[in-house]
Amino acid sequence: MFNETLIPKLGVIIDVRQDTPDIKTFRVVSPEGKKLFEHRPGQCAMLSIPGVGEAMFSITSSPTNTEYMEFSIKKCGCVTTWLHQAEVGQNVTVRGPSGNPFPVDDVFAGKDLLFVAGGVGLAPLRSVINYCRHYRDRYGKIDIVYGSRSKDDLLDYQEIINEWATDSGVNVHLTIDREQEGWDGHVGFVPNYVKELGFDTNKIAVLCGPPIMIKFTLEGLRSLGFEKTQVYTTLELRMKCGVGKCGRCNVGSKYVCKDGPVFRFDELDELPNEY
Amino acid sequence: MQKITRDALIEKAQTLLDSGVVTRVLGWKKGDFDYDVTPALFTDIESMKKDFVFGDFCGANFSKYLLKETKKIGVEGKVLVFLKSCDTYSFNQLLTEHRFDREKVYAVGIPCDGMVDVNKIKAIVGDGIVSIDDSAEVIKVETLYDGVKELNKADILLERCANCKSRKHVAYDELMGEDGEVIDSNRFDEVEKLEKMSADERFAFWQNELSRCIRCNACRDVCPACTCEKCVFNNPNSGVENKAAANSFEEQMFHIIRAFHVAGRCTDCGECSRVCPQHIPLHLLNRKFIKDINSFYGDYQAGETVGSRAPLTNFTKEDLEPSEAVNREDK
């Protein structure tokens, strides 16, 4: 009998962290307490609660973490709402990894990197950022621009402040949409902040966030002189099989689950605008 | 009954387009064969002269198309729709349910002596139809394998037309030709046959028919009584959303739920059975409801008038008690 990718592995939630009012991060291991499977930065996995449904999520922990996997999940649909009321010890099913990772070992190697994220869009980037931080000497300068509606909506805030911002050669630029008491950082939308910061173009940029943020950030980067071949993002469409067969996430000749979720903007230009 | 011609309809459309009464015409476009006409919207007379067809294969009930047509944003003026007598009942029923804006439609009633079922033709002449001449009562069908065969129209009518309930148009702005009469048809004969069966026989009958269902939803999507913005069967949270013809669900539930939902509103237009790719006689479910409603509450024809209160949504003191309906003898 063949292996069957549709049949998941069993996972156990060993930690639940309330990151923002509507985002929780779940730490998952096998019943034996081991990491379920290896993955590359940017890859995804299908989590499911039998009877509720199965859905695709970014693996937000770094591949360099050898103990567990983490998923930062925003409460918005059936599966996510169910997961948000789950407690430590809850079993879930996990299958993956799905999709193509960010080209961290070839294209990114030796380059300066700019990560731009909005809201829960930090989730897919966290694995890349931490991977690049782990192999710090393989990359040049790292800039991280991250924004959210409010201070409370900033994902992984403690990790950002205490770990990322204290790394040498890593610059973190945080922003929130509106003034807020107790916030003395930058206020304004991410695309504008990126333009204000005015990066040099000798780097790779990675964008992840709401479509409107992506659109205007890309325009901003283009105006700063970035080529589309330098800018990466991730797509998200409805998925069922996760292996390019069920047809749901088909855009043009690509399947987001198999050929994505990571795309370069010049590759997206080749796809019909249906994502 | 006089036969309405393509030319007469084009002429009518031209008059209405030229005078500005309508800005577009809902009609039929010729296909690759003489029988595969497609509903189409024409906005000018030239394209009509080129592609418009009318004949015995124009069975589609255009009433439901008016929902989409009248809701188009930025489109001015009225749409011209040609309605057969049966279509006018659906038209009225949709108006009763406030489903489209009557002011945006110009309805022309057209006489109809029945539409033809290509499946019935194929059952007689076989495959390889080269051409079909339906200009006369005797329909000439030429095939690759068997030359020309002459068929009587009466033998190849769509089921709903063979049991036509009314040649009277109950709604129109204008009528072409003379109006017909409500017909005392035999449409309940098949229902009576089913009623005479034992419960087991009847269950076996429906199980056999419904087991072929592939749950394509064509019956629902074409049905002028199925106009919910969001159907319960499309709602993942409903607990009954199920695309698969899985296990016994199709055989027992989907079609019955749908029949209940359209009970009292179904005009018996027969579109469900016409479009079913698995030729399941779905109209029989609806007819059973119509027959029962007639016998319990007095004759009622959905869509006969606009605004009529259907017996199932209208309480009167004379209504029979539920127990009477439940305990009725199998007739």
Partner: protein, 342 residues
């Protein structure tokens, strides 16, 4: 080449059915054909083709994939896959045989779909040449020869006899199983039939579709074509075309809670349905135009892009005869390909 008199067809079926399940096209009470399990007394249909395609044998409309038992916070995953039985499908037409190749490229490419693969492994296909193709047939446009269908065994039916020729090892094995019933013969009658079919095919109306206008790398050319508006304008959004199509392979995965356990099953799905791409935060294809376009772009451009130019249509004509509004891939090709009345 082996042959057997049609009068002994029942004997042939009985012999095959001794070793494995045998499915043949059978007429229903209204004269439409469907594949049914053969048993004594079941007669083969003379219809050109079945209403549903033969893809059901490998990719059934609904199948259970696995089960889960849940208790409190615990989940148990139960692999319910079992060894499949051998089966024979008799009378598959050339178009449907070709559809298996198209499905294979999806389900047998890595990672292999074990549910499909195990059925494919156990199934033996006996194809049947099309003596009388219909006006809706256009398989030859895709390079399919209805006179010589592929399959493990190819069969030709004349007025008196059934001729059988094995094409694969599986086919050889089945032929040897029925050796006692069949006799050796030359291929004269078969050659005659092939010639006759070839002549008929030339007369079929849909043979010269503008296929050269479609295929790999044409996404940009057609995606924004203004013609999609009119082509899709009266589409009901039902799934008829998808479900009668031998090559449509999209599916949904869903859970069904029986109260004792959760069954995870998959079922055919249709890109024509509004909820196909619906996500919690929105829908990437908001109108029927986009869904309609997806289906035809996939068959004519996207699939060829990923599969060496192979189209995901076999010209069986089912959608032509079953679409409630008679809109179909032929009309799409003719309209977009710019050749009216080819």
């Amino acid at each position: 080449m082996r042959k057997i008199s049609l009068s002994n067809l029942d004997g042939l079926f009985a012999k095959i059915a001794e070793k494995s399940k045998l499915y043949i096209p059978v007429d229903d009470n209204k004269g439409f054909a469907a594949f049914k399990l053969w048993a004594e007394g079941v007669k083969m249909s003379n219809a050109l083709n079945t209403v549903r395609s033969a893809k059901d044998f490998f990719f059934p409309q609904m199948e259970n994939l696995m089960e889960f038992k849940t208790e409190g916070k615990n989940i148990e995953i139960i692999d319910i896959r079992e060894e499949k039985e051998d089966f024979v499908v008799f009378g598959v037409r050339a178009c449907d045989v070709k559809s298996f190749e198209i499905l294979d490229r999806v389900f047998l490419s890595e990672p292999v779909d074990s549910y499909y693969a195990s059925r494919r492994e156990k199934g033996v296909i006996v194809s049947l040449a099309c003596g009388k193709p219909a006006e809706t047939c256009f398989c030859s446009a895709f390079g399919i020869d209805p006179a010589t269908p592929a399959g493990d065994i190819t069969a030709w039916k004349t007025e008196t006899d059934l001729y059988l020729k094995a094409n694969t090892e599986k086919g050889e094995k089945l032929l040897s199983q029925v050796e006692g019933l069949t006799e050796d013969c030359d291929d004269k009658a078969v050659e005659e039939q092939k010639k006759a079919i070839t002549e008929i095919v030339k007369k079929l109306p849909l043979q010269n579709l503008p296929l050269d206008k479609f295929g790999k790398g044409k996404t940009k050319e057609y995606f924004d074509s203004p013609e999609w508006d009119e082509l899709s304008s009266h589409c009901l959004g039902c799934g008829t075309c998808t479900f009668v199509c031998p090559t449509c392979q999209c599916y949904d995965v869903k859970d069904f809670n029986t109260g004792r356990e959760v069954k995870r099953f998959r079922c055919w799905d249709s890109c024509m349905y509004s909820d196909f791409t619906l996500m919690a935060h929105g829908n990437s294809r908001v109108s029927q135009k986009e869904r309609f376009r997806q289906r035809f772009m996939h068959k004519l451009v996207y699939y060829p892009d990923n599969n060496d130019g192979l189209f995901s249509c076999v010209g069986c004509g089912r959608c032509l005869s079953k679409c409630p509004i008679s809109m179909n891939i032929v009309k799409v090709m003719k309209t977009l390909g710019g050749k009216e009345n080819v």
